[in-house]
Symmetry: C2
Subunit: 153 residues, 2 copies
DNA sequence: TTCTAAATAAGAATTATTACTATTTAGATT
DNA sequence: AATCTAAATAGTAATAATTCTTATTTAGAA
């Protein structure tokens, strides 16, 4: 199955979910979702807005923010936990962690090995009803490490 | 050792660290740090500001933000990874996770059992040089669960 | 005590996000 | 296919969190 087909499947799923939740299937929703689903860069709202404007020049900032929130509410996309000023979004539903570079703010997906599973601290359920676990590893990414080395020469 | 003494120790450590890093020991820095170190509520900047104003009515918002950033830079306090509009701060240097309530936004510390240790996904170091690992568990805290039950009756 | 760079207060500016309102449109109903 | 209506949108204003600017103050070295 090629990439185009994969995306079509995701869009179909979005349409199904919209109908299921009584939400309309609008071209804006599709385009905005496509941007997140197509990217592995965990884009922020502004990046999505700029990208969507390419094909829909009249799209409004408000629509992007509103749509991101509703896609999140329907579990189609997720917000990455971070310490950055802008929210970052992820459409990958497979459980995974994130490596966040403190230099360039790039967010990388860390997928678990087949035998690994997401840790859950023993004391966690004492605090309430758990919805999901989020793991971020902060550090300096290989790209930035290489740049540091290049500068030294 | 009582609580007052514990805090004095922490302040002494702050003073030492300031001197070590060539930073001045100002009453504002001490008060702001005290607020975080004294609290287990992971306060945001505004809360710290309001609290510091009690004893220092002329403290400025800017000083609070600037000081929080410098305390963070000197590893005296840490920012909690979250999806909330406000940054939340933590002065506890012991490795621990966070339970974040999606209803009331309260942040609880999850300390590990003696035999437990912080997970590190096998693939993590492939992405770069790791600085720290951050685990958030999102869910509904016991207090909010209880409130839900109360409402139903 | 003097001096100077660092830190601060006060308020303006910026950035990310959300709210408001008139208009458009998805999709249900005829 | 045409009509209708609530949901969604565009455009723009407003808000909220944080950062910047500048004149003044102060920690701590000399």
């Amino acid at each position: 199955m090629d990439n185009k087909q994969l995306i079509e499947e995701k869009i179909d799923y979005l349409k199904t979910m919209c109908k299921l939740k009584g939400m309309r299937v609008t071209p804006q929703r599709i385009e905005i979702y496509k941007q997140i689903a197509n990217s592995c860069e965990h884009p922020d709202a502004e990046t999505v807005y700029e990208a969507v404007k390419e094909t829909m020049p009249n799209v409004s900032v408000d629509t992007v923010y509103r749509t991101l929130s509703s896609l999140e509410e329907m579990d189609m996309i997720f917000r990455v936990d971070n310490q950055l000023p802008k929210a970052r979004f992820d459409a990958d539903k497979r459980p995974h962690h994130h490596f966040i570079c403190v230099k360039c703010n790039e967010v990388y997906d860390i997928f678990l090995e087949p035998n690994e599973n997401v840790l859950l601290p023993k004391n966690a359920e004492k605090f309430g009803e758990i919805k999901d676990v989020n793991v971020q590893i902060r550090g300096i990414c290989n790209k930035c490490l290489q740049e540091q080395i290049n500068k030294q020469n």
